[in-house]
Amino acid sequence: MPSLKVLSRKKELLTGGHRLCAGCGASIIVRQVLMAAEDPVVMSSATGCLEVATTIYPFTAWRIPWIHCAFENSASTLSGVEAAYRSLKRQGKIDRTIKFIAFGGDGGTYDIGLQALSGVLERGHNLLYICYDNQAYMNCLSTSSLIMTEDGVKRITEVKEGDEVYAFDQRTYQLVLKKCSGVFDNGIKDVYELTTLHHSIKATANHPFLVLKRNGRGKKNNFVWQTISEMKTGDEIVVLKNLDEGESFKFDFNKVKKGDYKVNRSKNFLIDNKYFEIEKVRDIKLVGPEPTLDLRVEGEHNFIADGIVVHNTGIQRSSATPEGAATTTSPVGKAIPEGKQRPRKDLTRIAAAHDSPYVAQANPAYYNDLIKKVRKALSTEGPTFINILSPCPRGWRHDPSLSIQIAKLAVSTGVWPLYEVEKGQYRVTYRPKKRHPLREWLESQGRFRHLLRPENKGIMERLEKQVEEKEKSLLALAGEETSA
């Protein structure tokens, strides 16, 4: 096989300028896959980051024929394309050799698209299905937003990881300083402008705000996080008092005392609160597509943008989300300290159980291995499947520059073993000399941070055990010895 150096001279078939996040595994994977292909390729993609970020009309980043139909049917749509090819070829209407690759994220493959994938594998289409598995449903603030930090008000573009930003403590209703654990580029998205009496903020439709829910006379009021799309004018949201927008100022943090707020059941909920008050939403209107960013804040998961309390966005669990990962739909709490409670679905083995001629698991950090597998799959007659781990800095909560290092950790800690199943025969294609402790993998990403707490030691041990078991069963299938 030619070296990566030689392969990289090939014309880029996914051009730059697409809007995938920096450090996104999906684009790295697509480039490696297209580098591997020797014949012309026709591709389909499921709805998801890869599709949305590469084809905002009238632009396309694809220099190959490409189709997106819906979320759950990348496999069946491409099966129609491949059937057309076979038919036209048989009728002598076409003579080129063309290869077919379907792409889907884990949501579009493990979950909603599983049936279509299974159908394609059973029917024996001559195509390769690739799942770019970022282990959750990934989905922000306009870059013009002003964020309250320890050093005064900053534009969101100037906030860096490690900066202390002000957040709203949901238990004491006070202003607290929290460390920012990441800034994420969300690409160009539709941005809405929400205005209250004293504030206005631009954010995407799925951005959560802290909304007051009045539960009626005699009942306790409470706060709920609601996205712009769920909100309407008249809703009451938590805002900062007397913020002089654009002006830099300091808060006297020490002055905050517990209990210096009063709940008034009929009127303003936060009456007498020194820093926060409630204002009614006056207007929500669409302003158009703008570059957007999001912050991740430790502990409170909220921060104050343009004087309004907002929450980090996105990231819902899928059946590919590993046990113990925190997502917005499997959050960490007192009752559920581990985040996601169920182990992930082992899709690679499900695909292999279809007796497909070639099934593999790959990782963009091991590009030689990945390219070899893609070549093997494309030269195999019949339906083939490769599951590729796809780092997602936004969802996994790590620095975009660390994507490949983290992908490597998945292999060295045994979380994502590299193997292939050829005509039913399992073979491990790369095996680290010594399996590293799972802790290294968990420490590398914010989504696992809670597992490092001493009280969660039991959970960590359980997960370590699972990796061990999984490795054992894989090695048994491959007829290899388990390491000492």
């Binding site: 694809w62 139909c69 819906a70 279509a116």
Partner: protein
């Protein structure tokens, strides 16, 4: 020219499909469409069609595969009924918006729930806003003829839209009738070759299908889609005339009508139109001024032609074999009533919902409808805008 055979509706459909010889058929069996898929599978097994048959695991995948195949420059067909069509719903919209000339036979069956396998029009009426051209057929002959014309309509350069040809489940799909079949080469000459200018298999000039289309373009694209379906009536008529030259059977936007001198008219779609026709013949012999207007093209709705055709009529009863829950009447009624709004002297219009879940409609019920129309024409009063035929109340 042609030959006469006895075929059921499902068999006539399979026969038309054999002659069309599509490049790809992707289908999933569902009663009462099953016989079509089975018979066509036999053609594939015998090697008498060039078709690549994709035996999908669901109707959702059937329509997805048709979208893929049509985008790849293939002539793609499918057939379904009821819940199968409902499962396709999401992708039906996508096929139309990507301007792909997919052809689908819909064997009309009641939608669940509760589950029922017999005929009504709730399935195809449920997809009436999906952007497909819809052609309703009265009998096996029409199902056969319409399917062949559908290929030309769908593929016409300025139209490029999917077409649905419907006929009544069991009543037509499983009833043997006399059908005139064209010669194979006549059909293949009539439909010609399909050429998609934007094929996915043209790897030298890559195209992107299905990009993210936001508020800055989506609306314009929808407007183009409206334009395409609005232009289709003239194409449908042109192809109807060409088909007449070939077969001797003429098809217009409306089905064959008995409107000469008619004062009391029933509007109906599907097999019921045949029953109404026999009543019209009988009553006309007795000198009654009754008539029938048969719906053929429902999407796009030929409002102008229908309003013209009903000029001078005193009372109209629209028979709907489906319900639009909470609306002011059945789907056909809504269209007809709206089409008559600009008439200077519009006839009185009344709606009858009938035949849901396969409930039979008899000659006496239709005679009763004409009686009611007579009273309405006389009193110029519609007491009950929407009534039900053959319902126990």
């Amino acid at each position: 020219m042609g030959r006469i055979v006895g075929l059921t509706g499902d068999e006539a459909t399979a026969e038309a499909m054999r002659q069309i010889n599509p490049d790809v058929v992707a289908a999933y069996p569902i009663t009462p469409q099953t016989e079509t898929v089975q018979r066509f599978s036999e053609f594939v097994a015998e090697g008498i069609v060039a078709t690549e048959m994709v035996r999908v695991e669901s109707e959702h995948s059937a329509m997805s595969a048709c979208v893929g195949a049509a985008a790849a420059g293939a002539r793609a067909m499918t057939a379904t009924s009821a819940n199968g069509l409902a499962l396709m719903w999401e992708i039906c919209y996508i096929a139309a918006s990507y301007r792909l000339p997919v052809i689908m036979a819909v064997v009309n069956r009641a939608l669940s729930g509760p589950i029922n396998i017999h005929c009504d029009h709730s399935d195809s009426m449920g997809t009436r806003d999906a952007g497909w051209i819809q052609i309703y057929s009265e009998n096996c002959q029409e199902a056969y003829d319409n399917l062949i014309q559908a290929v030309r309509i769908a593929e016409e350069e300025k139209v490029r839209l999917p077409v649905m040809v419907t006929f009544d489940g069991f009543i037509i799909s499983h009833a043997m009738e006399r059908v005139e079949i064209l010669e194979d080469d006549e059909v293949s000459q009539f439909i010609g070759k399909y050429k998609n200018a934007y094929s996915l298999l043209d790897v030298d000039s890559p195209v992107t299908y299905g990009p993210l289309d936001l508020y800055d373009y989506y609306f314009e694209h929808k407007r183009q889609q409206i334009e395409a379906i609005e232009i289709s009536p003239e194409v449908i008529q042109k192809i109807g005339r060409e088909f007449k030259d070939l077969s001797g059977r003429y098809y217009d936007l409306m089905g064959s009508c008995h409107l000469e001198g008619a004062e009391l008219v029933i509007v109906a779609a599907g097999s019921t139109a045949g029953t109404v026709e026999s009543v019209v013949d009988e009553l006309r012999e007795k000198g009654e001024k009754v008539g029938l207007l048969k719906i053929r093209i429902f999407r796009p709705f030929p409002a102008k032609q229908i309003a013209e055709a009903l000029r001078g009529v005193r009372a109209v009863a629209v028979l709907d074999r489906s319900v639009s829950f909470g609306a002011q009447g059945g789907p056909i009624f809504l269209e007809i009533r709206s089409a008559l709004f600009d008439e200077i002297k519009p006839p009185a219009v009344v709606n009858y919902i009938y035949g849901l879940g396969g409930r039979d409609i008899g000659v006496d019920e239709i005679e009763r409808v004409y009686k009611n129309l007579e009273r309405i024409a006389h009193t110029k009063k519609v007491d009950e805008l929407v009534g039900y035929l053959g319902l126990r109340e």
